[in-house]
Each structure stands twice: as structure tokens, then as C-alpha cells.
């Protein structure tokens, strides 16, 4: 029974990792850009929600909705005025820029919000749970998991069933040919980063409700997201969810054997998958 419980907790945890990773996966899939500041942008999103909650006295879920357009614009500006300037054949400059951005954001957050750890309050929902047979399933972890699935469904809908999505895929496959067809890759990149920021604000909501956050916590929370993206197969969002679940389950099952192995088990699962499937589980395309 404890094993079943760990399995379910692990799957739900995977949803959280997938949600952290989805924005990362989207951006990487379209422009081969590893955004090292993604975790800090999520933390920034959490502070933005907190600001709206305290200023306008909104419910956290409503505040997230209000914050989403801001985040889109922020992502758009970030891409258009900073990242687009460094994107090119060499993958190093954009990587360094996002690395620097990560440090700048942490310090700006520290200056404005101090080092206090904060949390978003979802009231009684935080500790509520469903009892299914002998197992208690927390409402909040369940909600996170469902949100991850919805986010990925919606993103896939956009990518595979809209003209914007066609432009995404075309740019991803071959930006030069795509631009011959009248697509401006840099504009597409800006929209994609904007979209990734909307996913980030949803991740931020759950980051903040689930536990404390402070300005320096972004990178630590992002490690598992990176792993989920990589073992899922670069560019595949369902792969990212699968990768998240594998790491989540590996962690909780490892912890059942011995909590000292919890984090290690996740990393070992990551390495094992890479050994068997170096390109990840569901790679989108061969490039």
C-alpha cells in the first residue's frame, strides 16, 4: 500500500516538474535556446502574483490570470530586445546572456522583495485531500497534475492546429526556408517566448502555493525541469510530461526504500534513460 501511495505521489510530483519544464521545452523546441533564467522568471512570476494579491486583494488564481498578459509582454520584450540579438549559429552567446539574466533577476528580486521567504495562499485548498480507498490524494498536487496536462494539451493544439503553430514548426525546422515563405523568424521567437512566459506564470502559481519561495530559489527548482525536458526528448511536450513523471516516481519510490536516495534516484533514472535512449523518449524530430 505504501508502494502504491509513493507511485501516486510520484506521478503527481511529475506533473509539477512537467509544468516547470513546459516553457523551457517550448522555447528549446522552437529556437534551440536553453533559457537558464527560466527558473528565475518563474520566481519573478510568483512575486508578480503576490504583488497582485496584496495590492488588489485578489484570489491567487484570479491574480494569475491577470498576471498572464503581463508575462506575455515581458517574454516578448525579453526575446525581441535581448535574446534575438544574440541568437545565431553559435549557441554560447544566448546561453551566457540567460545565465547573466538569471543572476541579475535574483539580485533585483532580492533588492525589491528582501530575502524573506514568501508563499502564495490558496486557503483551505492547500491542505485539502481526497480519500480514495486507503490513499490520501492532496487536492493541490492533483490540481497541479491536471494543470500540467491541460497546459500541454493547449500548447499542442496551438502548435499542431493553428497557423501560428505552423509558423512555429516551420521556423523550428528551417528558419531560412521559413523566412522565404514570408515568416519572420524573430517575430515568431518573440511570440514563442511570450507563450512560454504564460506557462511560466502557471508554474509560478503552483511553485508559490506548494511551498515557500525566495529570490534565490529559481535555479534549484529548475534542475528537475531540465532533466524532464532532456529525457522526454527535446521539443516534445508529452515527452516532457513523461520525463517529469519518470523523475517524480523515481524520487518517491527511491525515498520509500531510503529517503537518503530520494534525489539521487531521480538523477539515476535520468542517466539510465539517457543510456538507453540518448535522444530522449519521444524526440520530435531528427536534427
Amino acid at each position: 500500500m505504501i508502494f502504491l501511495d509513493s507511485l501516486i505521489q510520484g506521478i503527481l510530483l511529475g506533473g509539477l516538474y512537467a509544468l516547470f519544464a513546459a516553457g523551457l521545452s517550448l522555447v528549446f523546441g522552437i529556437m534551440r535556446l536553453v533559457n537558464l533564467a527560466h527558473g528565475d522568471l518563474i520566481v519573478f512570476g510568483a512575486y508578480l502574483i503576490l504583488l497582485l494579491v496584496s495590492l488588489l486583494n485578489l484570489n491567487v488564481f484570479v491574480a494569475t490570470l491577470v498576471a498572464a498578459p503581463f508575462m506575455f509582454v515581458l517574454g516578448w520584450i525579453l526575446q525581441k530586445f535581448i535574446l534575438n540579438r544574440v541568437l545565431g549559429d553559435d549557441i554560447l552567446p544566448p546561453l551566457l546572456v540567460t545565465f547573466g539574466l538569471s543572476i541579475v533577476m535574483q539580485n533585483v528580486l532580492l533588492e525589491t522583495w528582501s530575502a524573506d521567504s514568501k508563499r502564495l495562499s490558496a486557503g483551505a485548498l492547500e491542505t485539502a485531500s481526497l480519500t480514495i480507498g486507503p490513499i490520501n490524494v492532496g487536492i493541490m498536487p492533483l490540481l497541479i497534475f491536471i494543470s500540467a496536462i491541460v497546459v500541454i494539451l493547449v500548447l499542442n493544439l496551438i502548435i499542431y492546429h493553428t497557423s501560428l503553430g505552423r509558423a512555429f514548426r516551420a521556423t523550428s525546422d528551417d528558419p531560412v526556408t521559413a523566412s522565404l515563405m514570408g515568416i519572420k523568424p524573430k517575430n515568431i521567437f518573440s511570440v514563442a517566448t511570450g507563450l512560454a512566459m504564460i506557462v511560466a506564470i502557471i508554474a509560478a502559481l503552483y511553485l508559490g502555493v506548494r511551498s515557500n519561495f525566495d529570490p534565490s530559489i529559481g535555479p534549484a527548482r529548475l534542475i528537475y525541469a531540465f532533466e524532464a525536458v532532456i529525457i522526454g526528448g527535446l521539443g516534445s511536450l508529452w515527452g516532457t510530461l513523461l520525463g517529469g513523471i519518470i523523475i517524480g516516481v523515481a524520487q518517491t519510490v527511491g525515498a520509500t526504500i531510503n529517503p537518503e536516495w530520494q534525489i539521487l534516484s531521480g538523477h539515476i533514472a535520468f542517466l539510465l534513460v539517457l543510456m538507453v535512449r540518448p535522444r530522449g523518449l519521444l524526440p520530435r524530430a531528427f536534427d
Partner: protein
């Protein structure tokens, strides 16, 4: 613009200060100031410890600004950086005395650097075992441990916190089954150590301990621990997790229907903001109390009592008091007191001697490096301050208050109630 009136007023005030300083006014060559170096984690994950720094240094300079200069360096919560800035302070700024506070990650590298450079250093806010043992060449071999010549530390130790926690639990009617959350870091390993940590003492007092092992910090799931605690029917939870981990654990425990009668937690619930992060679920969590406004001591620097100091902090910053305020204030009290008893401030050995001869009643209690309550190897470098137990209670106007509920370890500190069960 300085008016005649203003000038008269301020010079009268300084005159008064020197007079009231009396004994403490140091012997100094005209025009030169004593240079204090202060290393503190002003940014990074430990920054909450340093929040009161500016407030305290300002009040110190108000009193002693004519004789002292304080040079503050940020460790960025990074031990390597702490050692580096300590070196800068010693070599470039030519400080006379080093002060350092807040966790072994800050105190230890700075003390080690000062020891090598023969600069006297006073440190605080780190239990003495990680401070003293953590700096030894071979922490595993007590026979090889050496005292420091220039490092002086004041705080409490693990033995005190074990005493305080068990006193708290003895107030309740429990089945004496304890679940432990010890992370794989300096604190977690010390608390869970089978020789100097909680396990031997708890076994002696008839408690059964469920210790599931050292988990990594920033773990996202605690279902394994919660299941183990449920199986062992634990009614008490203890540990020294970092704040986000405790929030994750406590929230998940509630989701899983695990509610112990007592939860005595170090570190994670030190600051009121981290308890507030738990919403209403923080009510009656218990913790160690090293300083509070109800501590019956007052400052030798400003004459303020503990409660006046806390009120002053709240009035000037708009923030609730936190425990480090008292200790960082006491650090500067000591600097002021020591400098007053030294004839040649540039002589590191004389300053170190003056520190070891200290006998001062500070805002955190009496401090003297006389070896009271300490094993012989640590007697020279450590001074212990009193420790009591407290519980966080929901305050009427929102937020939480820390109420002292057990003072068996230091009866002079008044309690504000008795231990209550978590419901």
C-alpha cells in the same frame, strides 16, 4: 547647513555620550578610529539573518561613531566569499577587530582566516559544535582538536537545544514516539549524530526515535517520511529542515492526515515570515528561543532593555523583531566593551586577551569566556548564552507571536504561557 544652535546641541550630546561611556571610552590617539570589520550574509539564502544589520550598526555608531569605524562586507551567503572578504578586511582595510555572525557558513571561514592572519575575531549565531568542531583539521578525532588563539564565539550548543526540546515535550502527554527530519547538511548531520546529537539523549529519556535518514535539501516530496511517521504512530516531530522543505512537509502531512501533538523545529521556523508562510497551519509549532523581547537583559551600549530594542527596531523599520537582532547587537556591545579595556588596539594578542577576560551583561545575557557548561576542549573559545523554548501563536491582529513556554533551562527568562498541543 549647521546652525550655531545645532552645533551646540550636537556637541553637548557627544560630550554627554563620552561621559556616560565612562569606562568603555577607549584610549586612542587623537583623530584615529578603531576599525571594526563585519562580515555578514547580506544577500543570498541566508540574508534574513542580516536584515537588522543596518539598524544595529547605525545605533552603534550613534553611540560610538566618534571612536569607531565599521566596515561591512557581504559574504553573499557563500563560505568562499566570506573567507575572501575577511582577507580583504584584514589586508586592505587593516581592521583591528573582526566581527562575524550568522551560521557556520559565515563564522567558520572568517574565523579560520583571522586565525591564520592573527586578527582577533568575535563571532555568534552558530551552535558551538559546528563552529568549533567544524574548523578542526580532523573533526572525527577529538584528541586532535586544538583551541583557537584569536577566535571567540558566543552562542548555545546542541546539548542545550536537546534539553529545551525534551522539556517542551515533557509538558505534554504523549506516547514519546518522535519522528525526525534531519537533512543532509551540517545541521542535520549534527542533530542526528549517534554520539553528540539527539539519538542517545532521547533513548536515555525513554523516547523512541523514527529517523528515516538524511534527505537532500529542497526535496519536493515527503511522503516516505510521512508514511514512516504514521506507521510508528509518532506524536512528536522534530528536525532542522530549511524553510521551503518544512512548508512542503507540513502541507503534505496535513494532506495525508498526519497531525502530531508537537512539532519542535529548528531553523525552518526561526523567522516570523516563514511561519506566516504556513498560513494558519503554523499555530503552536515550537522552536528554540535564543533571544526575545521578554529576555530580562539590557544593552550596555544604548541602555535599552530587550523589549525596547525590539520596539525600536519595529518602529524604525516597520518589521517584526527577529532573534538575530539581539545577538548582532550583543556582538557590537562586545566590540565596544573590549576596545575600552585595551591600551594598544593594534596589538592583536592584547585584544584577544581582553576578549577572553570579558565579563559583560549584554542584551542576550551575561557573556564570559569562562568555560561554564562546556567540555574542556572548547572552554577557551566558547561562551554560552541561555536558551529557552517557545511556541508560535496566531496573534489577534494577524501574524504570529513567539511565546516563551519553557524556561527550565534559564529560569530568569519569564514564560508567557505553557506548551499547547497542535490540533
Amino acid at each position: 547647513m549647521i546652525s550655531r544652535r545645532k552645533l551646540l546641541k550636537s556637541s553637548a550630546a557627544t560630550g554627554l555620550l563620552v561621559a556616560s561611556g565612562g569606562l568603555a571610552a577607549p584610549a586612542l590617539a587623537q583623530g584615529s578610529k578603531i576599525r571594526l570589520g563585519y562580515v555578514t550574509p547580506a544577500s543570498g539564502p541566508l540574508a534574513a539573518f542580516a536584515e537588522a544589520d543596518n539598524f544595529i550598526i547605525e545605533s552603534f555608531l550613534n553611540v560610538a561613531g566618534s571612536d569607531f569605524e565599521v566596515i561591512v562586507k557581504d559574504s553573499q551567503s557563500n563560505p568562499n566569499r566570506a573567507a575572501e572578504v575577511a582577507k580583504e578586511l584584514i589586508v586592505d582595510d587593516e581592521i583591528n577587530l573582526m566581527l562575524v555572525a550568522s551560521t557556520p557558513e559565515t563564522t567558520n571561514p572568517v574565523t579560520t582566516t583571522c586565525e591564520a592572519e592573527e586578527i582577533p575575531v568575535i563571532s555568534t549565531i552558530a551552535p558551538w559544535q559546528p563552529y568549533f568542531i567544524g574548523q578542526q583539521g580532523n573533526p572525527g578525532d577529538p584528541a586532535s582538536w586544538e583551541p583557537f588563539n584569536y577566535g571567540y564565539h558566543f552562542f548555545w550548543g546542541l546539548e542545550d537545544i536537546i534539553q529545551v526540546f525534551t522539556n517542551l515535550w515533557n509538558q505534554l502527554d504523549t506516547n514519546k514516539s518522535v519522528g525526525a527530519l534531519y537533512p543532509n547538511d551540517g545541521d542535520g548531520n549534527a542533530w542526528g549524530d549517534p554520539v553528540v546529537g539527539f539519538p542517545p539523549v532521547l533513548a536515555e529519556l525513554g523516547y523512541t526515535l523514527t529517523d528515516t535518514g538524511r534527505y537532500q535539501n529542497l526535496t519536493d516530496d515527503f511522503s516516505a517520511q510521512i508514511n514512516a511517521f504514521k506507521q510508528a504512530n509518532c506524536e512528536i516531530v522534530t528536525g532542522v529542515p530549511i524553510p521551503p522543505d518544512f512548508t512542503t512537509f507540513w502541507t503534505q502531512a496535513k494532506q495525508q492526515g498526519f497531525v502530531p501533538k508537537a512539532a519542535s523545529i529548528g531553523k525552518a521556523i526561526l523567522f516570523p515570515v516563514s511561519v506566516e508562510a504556513l498560513g494558519d497551519a503554523g499555530h503552536n509549532l515550537s522552536s528554540e528561543v535564543w533571544w526575545s523581547p521578554s529576555h530580562p537583559f539590557s544593552s550596555t551600549l544604548t541602555g535599552q532593555t530587550s523589549s525596547e530594542l525590539a520596539e525600536d527596531y519595529t518602529a524604525s523599520t516597520g518589521r517584526q523583531w527577529t532573534q538575530p537582532i539581539g545577538f548582532i547587537h550583543a556582538l557590537f556591545e562586545l566590540a565596544w566593551d573590549v576596545a575600552g579595556r585595551v591600551s594598544e588596539i593594534d596589538d592583536g594578542d592584547e585584544v584577544a586577551e581582553a576578549i577572553s577576560a570579558t565579563d559583560l551583561s549584554t542584551v542576550v545575557g551575561p557573556i564570559a569566556w569562562n568555560g561554564n557548561g562546556l567540555p574542556p576542549f572548547a572552554a577557551q573559545n566558547i561562551a554560552k548564552t541561555p536558551l529557552v523554548g517557545g511556541q508560535w501563536r496566531l496573534a489577534e491582529g494577524g501574524g504570529y507571536d513567539l511565546v516563551v513556554v519553557d524556561n527550565l533551562t534559564a529560569p530568569m527568562i519569564a514564560t508567557g504561557g505553557s506548551m499547547e498541543e497542535i490540533s
